[in-house]
């Protein structure tokens, strides 16, 4: 699913031939996803499905903030865990049991959003590396608070209400709910990307000072993306919790959670809509499967690390952009490299060899900030 290069700049693109193919492809994909539990009724398959879709939604939500704005967050586990705890605590204190617990899911989204506001106001005032470390610091503060407070159950955590459903179909409702969350998030990401809001985000990523100079309310834009990202992450965290039936401080606030999400988004392509989806589809089931198959744990760690390295080095811009460029190279072979008046044509000369970092600019034109950053590569 490669993006049409100038789509973001022009706003709405008119529907053409390739778009119809793309839409048909998406519809087919959706149909398969919907029919998945029917096609593969084994609980193992739907188990993989639930966890995978949870991470598809999370990776997509994370990317809408971090990928689009360039502020790498290593603290999204805060929202994930808070959403999980919110559902558990509400169910416990309001004596909600059984299927009714699903009705509390919006609460988790709200909790995620609410936490994101002060979190964002504090963290988004600083730049890059400091931002990353602040997100890490806030993450640990939340994990430790989960340990320390009694209403979160301390080191014991919180249990979810028991659902006395038959084992063969137990996973299915969770599968559909997480599918709904994932599809909704993808659609939201797509809408944001095509909108002016998305453009402002990417302007911030390219050069924040310049964007400010051009009239973008940076803090407001960043915070909005942060809150949206947080709400969905919280929602999905609650789904994950209910499925697993338990959350404890180290599992709800898992330090490796964010790094996995970064890898997923990165592998697929930061800043694209389909990238994180693809990344999650590859990594989450892959990780589960590898651990089951290669049970001699230490080698699976080395293998995992080596695979990460291969992924980062082989597809440094992510699978989707690299794949899209490769396809474009194939289809434009023999034709003039510079089509009429297309600002994204800079990608064409770059495809002959990764010589310079300007080649990394897929769209939006090379800005002074980007070139300055390109020079910093060490």
């Amino acid at each position: 699913m490669s993006e049409s290069p100038g789509a973001g700049l022009r706003g709405r693109s008119r529907l053409g031939g390739p778009d119809i193919v793309r839409i048909a492809f998406l519809v087919a994909l959706l149909a398969v996803a919907l029919a998945f539990p029917v096609l593969f009724p084994s609980p193992v398959a739907t188990n993989y499905g639930v966890f995978t879709l949870v991470f598809v939604a999370v990776a997509s939500a994370w990317n809408v903030f971090s990928g689009f704005s360039g502020y790498i967050s290593l603290g999204h586990a805060v929202f994930f865990g808070s959403g999980a705890y919110a559902l558990g605590i509400a169910a416990r204190d309001w004596h909600v049991t059984g299927v009714a617990t699903f009705g509390l899911l919006p609460l988790s989204a709200a909790v995620g959003a609410l936490i994101a506001v002060p979190f964002g106001l504090i963290a988004l005032r600083v730049r890059r590396h400091t931002f990353i470390v602040i997100t890490i610091a806030v993450f640990f503060i939340f994990q430790l608070m989960a340990y320390n407070f009694s209403f979160t159950g301390g080191s014991t955590g919180v249990d979810a209400p028991f659902l006395p459903w038959p084992a063969a179909t137990y996973n299915n409702p969770f599968y559909y709910i997480s599918l709904g969350c994932a599809v909704g998030m993808i659609a939201l990401a797509w809408l944001i990307r095509r909108s002016r809001f998305g453009l402002q985000l990417r302007a911030i990523r390219d050069d924040e000072d310049r964007a400010r100079g051009l009239g973008v309310h940076a803090m407001r834009v960043k915070l909005t993306a942060f809150v949206i990202s947080a709400a969905v992450t919280g929602l999905v965290g609650a789904v994950w919790f209910f499925y697993l039936t338990q959350v404890q401080p180290p599992s709800g606030f898992d330090p490796l959670f964010d790094l996995s999400v970064v890898l997923m988004a990165f592998l697929g392509g930061l800043g694209t809509v389909a990238g994180p989806v693809l990344g999650a589809l590859i990594i989450e089931p892959g990780q589960l499967y590898l651990t089951v198959t290669f049970t001699n744990g230490y080698f699976s760690e080395i293998l995992l690390g080596a695979l990460f390295l291969v992924a980062v080095l082989l597809v440094p811009r992510g699978i989707i952009p690299t794949g899209g460029e490769y396809l474009r190279r194939l289809t434009t072979r023999g034709r003039s490299a510079i089509p009429a008046a297309n600002p994204a044509s800079q990608s064409a000369p770059a495809s002959t060899g990764p010589r310079s970092d300007e080649g990394a600019m897929r769209e939006g034109g090379a800005s002074k900030g980007a070139r300055r950053r390109a020079g910093k590569a060490l």
Binding site: S42, P43, V44, N47, Y48, F51, L144, Y147, N148, G154, S155, T156, G157, D159, A160, P161, F162, P164, W165, P166, A167, Y170, W240, Y243, L244, T245, Q246, Q248, P250, S251, D254, L288, T291, V292, T293, F294, T295, N296, G297, Y298, F299, S300, E301, I302, L303, G305, A306, L307, L309, V310, L313, L314, G353, P354, R355
Partner: protein, 431 residues
């Protein structure tokens, strides 16, 4: 100015490096992955179908030391059972999956084991933290979850267990752990009784309840509490809380620990502060045998106490046989055998007795049988489950390292069979 190296070759170099690592890891993996997954003796070919048993263990991650000890225990049991002709003539085939100490992986593992591998029975994972997510899968399939490491109250109170009553913990319920110790203090004449006590506890549902109970009871006996604080489990440095305990000068230290590093950190800080408590008991750590001694040293281990339901010197024929078998296979001394091994072995034994008694691997029948009030045997002693799955028949003992840190002996209750005299005052630290 040196020419800027072209980008392509350095990236290639990096890729090659990564690919080599990946390939070697895969090669090593596939050559050794089969060695940990199943144990089946082929000495007595049986025409009957094997009994398949699945378990998820923490072979890597936070709980890896204990997870691996459990793996040895399960495998030792399976090996012994098969060497004796299996259960009801059927060989046991054990499949162990690694969960990396992660609840998500535990969920997937048990789903895979039951739904894809179609195992007949399951054993539990290591740690109270992973037993609840395991049970939420296992309960829905109606399987019994026999385990030895999920003893915290939260495990038995979990919604799944309250609904299906399928958890069975063969080990000592943790809240009874410190009772023999408290009784010992009570048995001392008031003039000889220690006056002050400190209770540092790790933030863990396994470590805290017994220490807090001990605090209550000792206070009632007139022992003054001079320190009682909970510290985070994952703290990178224990020196400050340990120094505070040392500064309190408490005569008794009851440490709510879950692993060896916590105990060794406190011991080291005490030594640096030239402070030796008269009595030092830890909830876990000193019972890990060689893993404990190698970190703290024999001399310092002298006098350290720990409560448990079993120890390698337990005067029980089956237990001694297992200990000797373990030492023959893995080396070391009997005192060096980790208590986890016996716990895991007992899980297997209980399951075997249930299968034999019910004539098959019908989990519903097994659950009913285990709840029927019958008393079973294990290397850890008698096993009898109450309605929540706790083992009410197990007795708590307190053990102490003696003879210069070379012997791990049973000391309390002093009247119990097999108890030796307790070292009433911990000797000063040695370097």
């Amino acid at each position: 100015m040196r020419p800027h190296l072209p980008w392509l070759p350095s990236r290639t170099l990096a890729l090659v490096g990564a690919a080599v690592l990946a390939a070697s890891a895969v090669a090593a993996c596939s050559s050794s992955s089969s060695s940990t997954t199943s144990t089946s003796s082929t000495s007595s070919p049986s025409s009957k179908a094997p009994i398949t048993i699945g378990a998820s263990l923490s072979l890597t991650g936070d709980f890896s030391a204990d997870g691996q000890a459990y793996q040895k225990g399960y495998e030792l049991w399976a090996h012994d059972v098969n060497a004796h002709g299996g259960i009801m003539g059927r060989q046991v085939k054990l499949t162990i999956l690694n969960d990396n100490s992660s609840p998500t992986q535990v969920d997937t593992n048990y789903t895979t084991l039951i739904s894809s591998d179609h195992v007949d029975l399951v054993f539990g994972p290591f740690s109270s933290l992973l037993t609840t997510p395991a049970d939420s899968v296992v309960a829905h399939y109606g399987y019994a979850l026999v385990e030895g490491a999920g003893g915290a109250p939260t495990v038995f109170d979990s919604p799944a267990n309250e609904a299906d009553h399928n958890i069975f913990d063969v080990s000592l319920p943790i809240k009874d752990e410190m009772v023999p110790f408290v009784n010992y203090i009570a048995s001392l004449p008031p003039s000889q009784r220690p006056k002050t006590a400190a209770y540092p506890m790790a933030d863990d549902p396994f470590a805290d309840p017994p220490v807090q109970l001990a605090q209550q009871e000792l206070q009632a006996l007139g022992v003054k509490t001079v320190y009682s604080k909970i510290f985070p489990e994952e703290v990178a440095d224990y020196k400050a809380p340990a120094d505070d305990v040392a500064a309190s000068g408490a005569q008794i230290v009851v440490l709510g620990s879950t692993d060896v590093p916590t105990v060794s950190a406190f011991m080291q800080a005490f030594e640096q502060q030239h402070y030796t408590p008269k009595l030092f008991i830890a909830a876990a750590g000193p019972d890990q045998g060689a893993a404990f001694i190698s970190v703290v040293g024999k001399g310092n281990a002298e006098g350290m106490m720990v409560p448990d339901g079993w120890y390698p010197g337990y005067d029980n024929a089956a237990s001694k046989a297992v200990v000797n078998e373990y030492v023959a296979k893995y080396g070391g001394t009997p005192s060096g055998v980790n208590a986890d091994v016996a716990e895991a072995y007992s899980v297997g034994q209980v399951m075997a007795q249930a299968v034999t008694a019910t004539g098959g691997t019908d989990n519903a029948k097994i659950i009913a049988y285990l709840h029927s009030g019958v008393t079973l045997t294990s290397v850890q002693g008698p096993v009898k489950f109450d309605s929540l799955g706790e083992n009410g028949a197990s007795a708590a003992f307190v053990f102490q390292w003696q003879d210069g840190g070379t012997e791990f002996n049973q000391v309390l209750p002093s009247s119990a069979a097999g108890s030796v005299p307790i070292i009433a005052t911990k000797p000063a630290w040695t370097s």
